[in-house]
């Protein structure tokens, strides 16, 4: 059942545009995780995980297993390094389209 109900088909298109457009798959250089990445600028990064990627990442498994549980803010440093490498190698276009 729909919850917040848009009144126009264009809105649904916008939802797809902002959440899915221009995502490049980046494979982690250290594990089997593969995530969707977008960079609107050098300092901006958007990372879309899925369940399989999260399961493949040993860093997250380690945090989950620690007695205190995972700290929310932990991202994976190896993945960040992999994204940086992908940028250096020109696999990721840096720059936004019309705000997305």
């Amino acid at each position: 059942m729909a919850s917040f109900i848009p009144s126009s088909a264009d809105t649904l298109e916008d939802m797809l545009l902002y959440t899915q457009a221009r995502l490049t798959q980046v494979a982690c250089l250290d594990c089997l995780a593969s995530v969707g990445v977008k960079k609107n600028s050098e300092h901006h990064t958007s990372i879309q995980w899925n369940a399989a990627a999260l399961e493949a990442c040993p860093e997250f498994a380690r945090w989950d297993a620690s007695p205190l549980g995972r700290e929310i803010h932990q991202g994976c440093a190896r993945l960040v390094a992999s994204i940086d490498a992908a940028v250096r190698e020109g696999h990721i276009d840096i720059g936004a389209e019309d705000g997305y």
Binding site: S3, F4, S7, Y18, H43, S46
Partner: protein, 382 residues
């Protein structure tokens, strides 16, 4: 075909979110009296029984609709003011003083309740599911002990906006400059499962005469997570002119109608070394006032803005659409929650350009002010 952007106001959802909602400080309900709380399109009654447990039921009696919040606590039960039917915390009618027997069907709606960190939480789900204790907000070590001040508690009524407006704040980097008078220098979001987090560092604007967070000496490091649809814990490291304080701010709400909610916030402070209790309480109150100003600034915007289903974003904005996709999980049946709603998502906002422009704007404001001050002759003891 016109190129004009259409503002899609959409329609608010027909249901209230599934999840834990905070109704207030547990101690405020512990006086043996019934308490009325507006929520979920109606009214709830809260009372403490003889074992010290807090019970929460729908506020209206299933007999003839009497207002239980105006009744009385008799033994462990809440007694209706109309014909004295006695309702137990499990939702069952336990006794009708004038009747041979209680009808088998005399069951009312109960809200599963838990006290967490000294606050009363209730589970709400239109599907009537069992309360999910795995998604309660975490226990806060040290809170409720001598190490922290007591919670403050404030309520702001928001009579004409949907509570998604306050959720949107999680990703709204730029409003911190315009509405709260701070430079957000670092801004990052992570959404995963039922938790949505904002990491932010900010410095107060020097051109705002100390309004809101607009004080150059105020540097915040903030980590704020929604645990479910309505309850945010904000861990704040506050540096005010070199005086550092650890503050825990709870920002939570209860929806009252399809387009209204009560915004509530609580705050406690880790007592700084060498500071007596009265002073620590005073510090807590002062921070509470600062955040009150902040929330009031937000509320003013919400009460006047239009709802928007299709926000138009620029490159410097946060991930509004992804946040709303996360928030959607609480408004669909449990079986209809999709992986996209709960999959981990990370977003780092680029604040560099924005802050360059804002620093220039503030410098211009300060220069203009200095000019004006110089032009106005000092009125000595007028």
């Amino acid at each position: 075909m016109s190129d004009t952007r259409f503002l899609d106001q959409g329609a608010p959802p027909e249901r209230f979110a599934r999840g834990w909602h905070c109704l207030g400080l547990a101690k405020d309900f512990a006086d043996g009296k019934p308490h009325g709380i507006d929520g979920f399109g109606g009214k709830l009654v809260v009372w403490q029984d003889t074992q010290g447990n807090l019970n929460v039921l729908d506020g209206y009696c299933r007999h003839m609709g009497g207002d239980l919040t105006q009744g009385a606590v008799k033994g462990d039960e809440i007694a209706c003011p109309f014909h004295d039917w006695r309702w137990g915390g499990d939702g069952k009618c336990k006794a009708i003083p004038y009747a041979r027997r209680v009808p088998l069907r005399a069951r009312t709606q109960k809200y599963p309740a838990v006290v967490r960190n000294g606050q009363l939480m209730v589970w709400h789900d239109v599907e009537g599911s069992e309360a999910d204790h795995d998604v309660l907000p975490p226990e806060l070590a040290g809170v409720g002990t001598e190490a922290y001040t007591d919670w403050t508690w404030e309520v702001l009524d928001v009579p004409s906006a949907h509570c998604r407006e306050i959720i949107d704040n999680v990703v709204d980097m730029a409003h911190f400059f315009y509405i709260h008078f701070a430079f957000p220098t670092n801004f990052r979001n992570v959404f995963e499962g039922h938790v949505a987090t904002q990491f932010m560092e900010s410095t107060g604007r020097p051109d705002m005469d100390g309004a809101g967070y607009g004080d150059e000496g105020l540097v915040l490091k903030s980590e704020a997570s929604y645990f479910g649809p309505s309850y945010m814990i904000n861990w704040l490291h506050v540096d005010y002119k070199g005086f550092e304080t650890e503050v825990i701010l709870i920002n939570c709400h209860v929806p009252t109608g399809p387009n209204s909610f009560k915004l509530q916030y609580a705050l406690c402070v880790k007592k700084p070394e060498g500071v007596d209790d009265a002073t620590a309480d005073y510090i807590g109150k002062r921070y509470s006032e600062t955040f009150k100003e902040g929330f009031e600034q937000d509320v003013h915007i919400w009460l006047n803005k239009a709802p928007v289903q299709n926000p138009l974003l620029c490159e410097e904005d946060g991930p509004v659409y992804q946040l709303r996709r996360w928030y959607e999980q609480f408004y669909v049946d449990k079986a209809d929650v999709t992986p996209e709603m709960t999959d981990r998502f990370e977003f780092e906002v680029d604040t560099t350009k924005a802050n360059e422009y804002w620093r220039e704007e503030v410098a211009r404001n300060l220069a203009k002010k200095a000019e004006e001050d110089a032009a106005t002759p000092e009125t000595a003891d007028a």
